[in-house]
Symmetry: none
Subunit: 217 residues, 4 copies
DNA sequence: TATGAATGAGTGTTCATTCAT
DNA sequence: GATGAATGAACACTCATTCAT
C-alpha cells in the first residue's frame, strides 16, 4: 500500500520490491554515515549494487528514496513491536515486558531512529504527513497496551502522555547515546525508566528482581 | 571563549561580535524555514544585511555558521534557564518552578531546539563534541537543581536519569508538537509531566492547585 | 525505395511497413505537440503501441524515426497534390484549381509542415539531402503545371521563381498562422494570393467570382 | 527594456549587457552549427569566454539564452531595416529601395533567421508571444512603407498580404538557399520578386534597368 | 573592511541504446 | 519477433568559496 505512491518505470512488482529493498538498505547504510543531504544518488546506486540509471527506473526523485527509507524503518519498528504485544491476558508484567522489548528494539535500531529524527523534515509536506501518521499509529499501539494492562488506574489524557513519554524515552536512548550510554548500561536504563513509570503510577515494582529480561529482544 | 575557535580575517573584536550576531540571527531565521542544507551562504549574507564577501571575512566555512548558530542557541537556553535557578532556599516548590520555567522556555524556543536536533550531526567531530559538552552542562544544571531541592530521596544515578528525562521532555514538547500540541495545552503538558515526576519520587503534589505558573515564563 | 535505407533487424517486409507506419503516426502526433528533441523514443514506442525494444527492431537510431516521419509527410503532400493535377487540357482555370488545391492541402497539413521546417536540420547530411531532393520534386510538379498552363507568357527562370513563391506561400499559411489566420480566412488568403499571381502575370482574373472552390480540397 | 525580463544575480547593468552580448554571440555561432538543443550550456560559456558558473550569473535557464539570442536577432534586423526607411518623400522608387535593402539584409543574416524559424517554438509561451509581437512590428514597418509609397492603389487587406509576402520571400532566400541559390544570384532573385510585386500592383517597372542597387546593402 | 563577480567541482536527473530472456 | 530492465554518458543547474578592486 505504501510503495504504490512511488512511481516506477518498471512493471514487474516483485522486481520493484527487490530493487527497492536493495536501494533502501544501501541508503540506510549511507544515511547513517553522512545523512541524507551529504549522500549522493550515485553513491546509493553503487551501494545498492546497480547503476544510477537503474536507480531512477525505480524512483522519481531522491526524496522518494528518503521516503522509502523512512517508511521502511517505521515498518520494521512497528512489525517487531507488534510481535511482542500479546494482550490475551493483560497484566502489569505484560506491560513491563512490552516496554522492555520496545527499549531493546530502540537499542538495536538506534541509528535508524536517528535518521527518522533528522531527515523527516526534508520530506515534502504530503510524505511527511504520511510518515507522521505512521508514527501516531505506533504511539497508539503503546496506548492500547497501557489501557489494557493498567485499566483502572489512569485517565485517557494520562495514557496519552505516558505513551508519548515511553515512546520518546526509548528513542532517547539512541539519539542521546553519547551521554546516556556513558552513564548507564541498557539494562540499568530500562530498569530505571520502568521503575519511575510504575512509581508514577503508584504500582509496586517486584522488590527482589530487576525488570530487565536477560536475553535481549 | 567560543568564538575564538572560529577564525576571522577581521581584527576588531567588537566588529566580529556584531557581524556574527547579525549572521547568526539571519541564519536562524533561514534554518527554521529550510534547514541548514537547503540554506545558501548567499541567503544568509543577504538576510544578515551584508555581502557574501563580508560573510567570509568573519568565518571560514559554512559549517562555521552552523556552529555559531548552535552555540548561540545553547547560550540563550542556558542563560535564561540559569536566571530562573535560585538555590538559596531549595525546596520542592523551587524544583517545580525551575521545571516549569524550563518547559516554558522550550515552548518559546521550539524551532531553535529543532535546529539543534536536526543539524548537530552536520558539524565536524570537533565542533560536535564541543556542542555536546555544552549540552551536558545544561543537564548538569538540572541535576544540581534536583540534588539541591530533593536531596535525600534520590540516588546519583537516578538524578542523572531524571535530569535527562526532564531535559528531553522539554524538547519533546517542541519537536513532537504535531502530536502533543493537538492533545495538550502547554499547561496541561507541564502539569502532567510534573505530576508524574513527583509521584515517581513519592512526593505529594499540592492537592488544590495546578503547578503551572499563570504568568508565562 | 525510401525505407530500404533504414536498416531493420526484422526480415518480414510487410511487418516492417506496418510497424513503421504505426511508429510514424505516433511520432507525428508527438512531434506536433513537443517537437523532435523533446519527444522520447519511449514515448514514441508507447504511442505506437509497442515496446521500446520492438521499436529498435525496426530502426537504428532516433534520427531514423525523424527521417521516416519527414519522408512520410512529403509522401502525403506529394501524393495528394499529384492527384489534383490533370494536365490533359491545360488552362489558366486548371492552374488556378491546382493552386487552390495545394493551399487547401497546406491548410490541412499545417502542423506536419511545421515539423518539416523545424526538424529537417536535425537530420544528418545524407538524409537531409535526400529529403531536400524530394522537396525539389514537389516544386518541379508546380513548375510543370505552370509551364503547361501558362506556356507562352513566362520565362524559365520566372517559372522557377513562381513555383517557389507558390510553394512557400502555401506553407506560410500554416507556419505563420498566428498572424495570417487572424487577418484572413483561408478563402481570402487564397483569393488574394492567386489574384496577385495572375496580375503579376498579366492575366485577367474572372471579374465576377472569387477563385476559391467552395467545397474544400 | 527587453533584458530586464531575464533575471541576473549580477547587479552592474553595464557588465550584464557586456556579458550577455558575449554570451549571445557565442550562442549564435553554436546555434548556427548545431541548433539550440544540441548546444550545451557549457559550450556556450566556453565560446563566450567564461565559465559555466559565470554564465549562470547572468541568466536563469538555458531557455533564457535562446530568448536573448532571438531577441538580439530581431533587434538587429529591425534596426538595420529601420535605418533604410526614409519616408520623407515617398515614391515607388523609395519602396523598391526598401525592399532591396531588406532582401540584402536577409541575405546577410541568413543563418540567424534560420535560428528564428527553427527554435522559436522551444520558447515558453510567454517568451514566444513576446517574440512574435516583435515580428509583427517588423511586418508593420513594411506595411507602413507600402501604404506610404503606394497609397492609392491598394486596399488595407492587400497591404497586409503584400507585407507578409515580402517578409517571407526575404526569409525564404535564406532558409531555402539550397534550392534558390542554385537557381538565382541574389540580384536575380531580388529583381524577379520586385518585378512580380510591381506587376501584381499594375506598376510599370523602369524598362531599361534592373532594380538592384549595385553596391550591396 | 567591504564588495560581488568569477569559478568549477559536484549534483540530481534524463534518455538513447543494448541485450538477455 | 517481442519485451523491458539495465546502462552510463551527458546534461542543466547550484553553490561554497576566492580574490581583485
Amino acid at each position: 500500500m505504501t510503495d504504490k505512491q512511488i512511481l516506477s518505470s518498471v512493471k514487474d512488482q516483485e522486481l520493484i520490491e527487490k530493487r527497492r529493498t536493495q536501494m533502501v538498505q544501501g541508503a540506510i547504510t549511507l544515511f547513517k554515515e553522512k545523512g541524507f543531504h551529504r549522500t549522493t544518488t550515485r553513491e546509493i546506486a553503487k551501494e545498492a549494487g546497480f547503476s544510477i540509471g537503474t536507480l531512477y527506473e525505480y524512483i522519481r526523485t531522491k526524496e522518494d528514496i528518503l521516503f522509502l527509507v523512512v517508511d521502511s524503518i517505521h515498518h520494521q519498528v512497528r512489525d517487531q513491536l507488534e510481535a511482542k504485544i500479546n494482550l490475551a491476558t493483560p497484566s502489569v508484567a505484560n506491560f513491563v515486558s512490552v516496554i522492555q522489548s520496545y527499549f531493546h528494539l530502540m537499542d538495536d535500531m538506534q541509528e535508524e531512529v536517528l535518521i527518522l529524527y533528522q531527515e523527516v523534515k526534508s520530506l515534502k509536506k504530503e510524505s511527511r504527513e504520511y510518515v507522521l501518521r505512521k508514527e501516531r499509529d505506533m504511539i497508539s499501539m503503546l496506548e492500547r497496551v497501557i489501557a489494557a494492562c493498567l485499566p483502572d488506574e489512569i485517565a485517557k489524557q494520562d495514557v496519552e502522555l505516558l505513551a508519548n513519554n515511553i515512546f520518546v524515552q526509548g528513542q532517547m536512548w539512541g539519539f542521546r547515546r553519547w551521554i546516556l550510554q556513558k552513564q548507564f548500561t541498557l539494562e540499568e536504563y530500562i530498569d530505571g525508566q520502568i521503575n519511575y513509570l510504575l512509581k508514577g503510577l503508584n504500582i509496586k515494582a517486584q522488590p527482589d528482581e530487576g525488570f530487565t529480561q536477560k536475553g535481549g529482544v
